[in-house]
Subunit: 249 residues, 4 copies
């Protein structure tokens, strides 16, 4: 299994997550590219930290919304979205190149991530950016996402990620956050779900049924209290279960 | 000879120069990368226009100063300057890649351009960025610039550009703008100086002596009134004089 | 009648409209406050120009979206919208104070203007900002706007503006732009509609019926080609018709 | 004595200092105005916290440099500096007005603060902004600052602040930070110096002599580790020494 986490979300003097600590547990780093977080020096520091540990670098592009941390949907045109994503992937790939690595995948951030899963023009705009930049680069998204069809139509690879702390519907989709029980807070349960997902490829859905989870990567949160401690526990439990934790790219 | 000009300096709804017209006369386009001008859609439009005409794309990075159009010196650290330039070259190179070309040289903008010619740490920071991104990429600068030594020490190529509308000292440096006669306004004189520079490699200095001008490229202004008309005249005069106008990279 | 127009929408080196010319024809200037356009020096220059001619200064706040010129809807929370508008009114009022005048009304810009007419929480957020800043300050909006009820509930004054170049429904609403015939391009017709609106308080609706137009102000566009010439014609026609053109505040 | 501290230096999701805790100990809050830190919601939250405790609100304007936190000198023109400061004071005063208070003084931030103490045109530009906005508003600066003369010439009040953790020259100036011993790290010493400054109006200079300190306010740092604990100790020691801690405005 691969473990991915959002990284490089500092900006200037501001810090958000303990990237250095988290980098010890993940295998793929979704690095902010400057539009919702991440100034160039932060990007270099983050990519250098990833390179030192053999962690793969993915682009984590966003709507241009620093004050809203990219969490607010923006009614941008598909052409704007495509251009903004190409710009951000390129900027991070420039940093990666200067650090002797390259960007190996794309995972959009925040509101852009959410919008592309349900809004066909946005999904196509994201896919168009990846295809224009490097059609061999996979995009991370959710089960059932609009990106999956858009990517297939464009000859781009869309891969799904899973979440050990999110409830699933019997159909394998995420239970929406606004619904009760959507986010699991019991850390023991989260850890054991992570292990089951990684070993058996299954998880218990919200109705008690056991469903299959097909995911190229498991997402660990970086900016919640206790994120590092939980990442450590999950990584340790996976190691104990003899799961090979290795980049998906 | 090569003719270069600043391009892509629109931002959102704002337009500055008539890039489409100018692209017909130049062979190298210094494309703004977002820090002083140039949003991603503008960058794509500009690079597409360059590709259609076989015009080479150069990065035109700046201090981060949109409201000041990059014309104000900023006391950034060398590490900040290096990171900012890598980010900007990468962003433009991403756009270039999406348009089936690549960035082939770097010419910093405005206050950063001026500072790097006289301030050793800034010159080294610029060169460090180019070296980290692609050591084979040349940097355009002025005769006598601090960048020349910094580039030589780092194994990077620094090339000089010349200006048909600027007065030269007998030593081959530009007469500072604040000095009387520093900028030539007589268009006929500018055109004939351009031709002499391109054919004989010489120009009349401000003291009346004739000096040698060693330049890889000649800079045409883009954002002054009459810029397009003057570019057309210079290009026409060079064509009439059988000068091959071709990219320097 | 009052004539209002968007002003101060330059940014740094970028210019958009010919504010100096337009200020000769309008009586109320909607001055950009920095979020979609308008740096502080531009704001000062614009307010000084207004003061010299006895033109009233209104705040023209926007979503924070410089690259999109505030034309893109942004899913901001009501608290964010309220805070952003208070900030922008205050900033412009600071400039006004330094120029010996004060902000006397508020007309939101672009996507924020459109959203507040149809989206109750946004309408309330706009009204909350005006009420917190100065409850005696009127807000300009459209007939049928959600702002009208929100303002009434909060004890704030909402006033409507009319457009000589937009088609009206028989109910007195604007015909949506996407509909054929929504925008009148015949300048003679626009001028005569302006005069009829100002003298008789009526206009011909899109179905040929004649409807009443109750408006505190008539909006003249500033950023379209020919905007100044049309403003001159309308102002001249109003003067010829002995209409007193005077600020609504 | 008055105690002032920088506040409201969060931005969007990013937090810097524990403003809520610090507000319990200070009497004047220098509130960031959006150019180096401080989005409008943060500004409202900060001013509300100040109002609840009777803490005075001062404007803390900066060069426009979010990524550099206003710590980098920027070669802005005096007119730009004046306009930027008017804009920022106005924006904060708008927020203050919405929170039933007003801005009562100005203390520039970071590089702008440092530059105005030594660079006459910048000092004059700062004073011009304050004078244009409200000539009765005092400006906080350092002993020996260029602002003092500029303010006197313009009929504006410049007041000095003191620092319990900074070494002083025998002439009453701050020892430059780059010099050994410029910043005191012994908290006991800092606390006792604060009490001596507030009670006797004196402090031991770096050469061992005892000098007079004439200051309207004492500055407490907000963004260093231990800032809150030290502020608590200083405030407690002042209370124990029967010093009345009260706003200087």
């Amino acid at each position: 299994v691969d473990l991915n986490s959002d990284m490089g979300e500092a900006f200037g003097v501001y810090r958000l997550a303990d990237d250095e600590a988290l980098l010890d547990f993940v295998t793929s780093a979704n690095v902010a590219c400057g539009f919702h977080a991440g100034d160039p020096e932060t990007m270099i520091r983050t990519v250098e930290g990833a390179v030192r540990r053999g962690v793969r670098v993915g682009a984590h592009p966003s709507y241009r919304d620093l004050v809203g941390f990219g969490r607010r949907a923006l009614d941008a045109t598909p052409a704007e979205i495509t251009a903004d994503i190409i710009y951000q992937i390129g900027a991070l790939d420039g940093v990666a190149r200067a650090c002797s690595t390259r960007v190996s995948y794309v995972k959009p951030h925040g509101a852009l991530y959410n919008t592309m899963t349900v809004h066909q023009p946005t999904a196509q705009a994201v896919v168009a950016a990846v295809r224009a930049y490097d059609p061999s680069m996979p995009v991370l998204t959710l089960p059932g996402s609009a990106v999956i069809d858009a990517a297939a139509a464009a000859g781009v690879t869309a891969l799904c990620e899973c979440f050990a702390d999110r409830a699933y519907t019997p159909e394998g989709r995420l239970v929406p956050r606004r619904q009760d029980g959507a986010v699991l807070v019991d850390e023991d349960a989260v850890v054991s779900r992570a292990v089951e997902m990684a070993t058996a490829g299954t998880v218990e859905a919200i109705d008690g049924s056991r469903i299959e989870v097909h995911a190229a990567s498991m997402c660990l949160h970086s900016d919640t209290p206790g994120a590092v401690a939980l990442a450590r526990r999950i990584r340790h439990a996976l190691d104990m279960a003899d799961v090979e934790v290795t980049p998906f790219t």
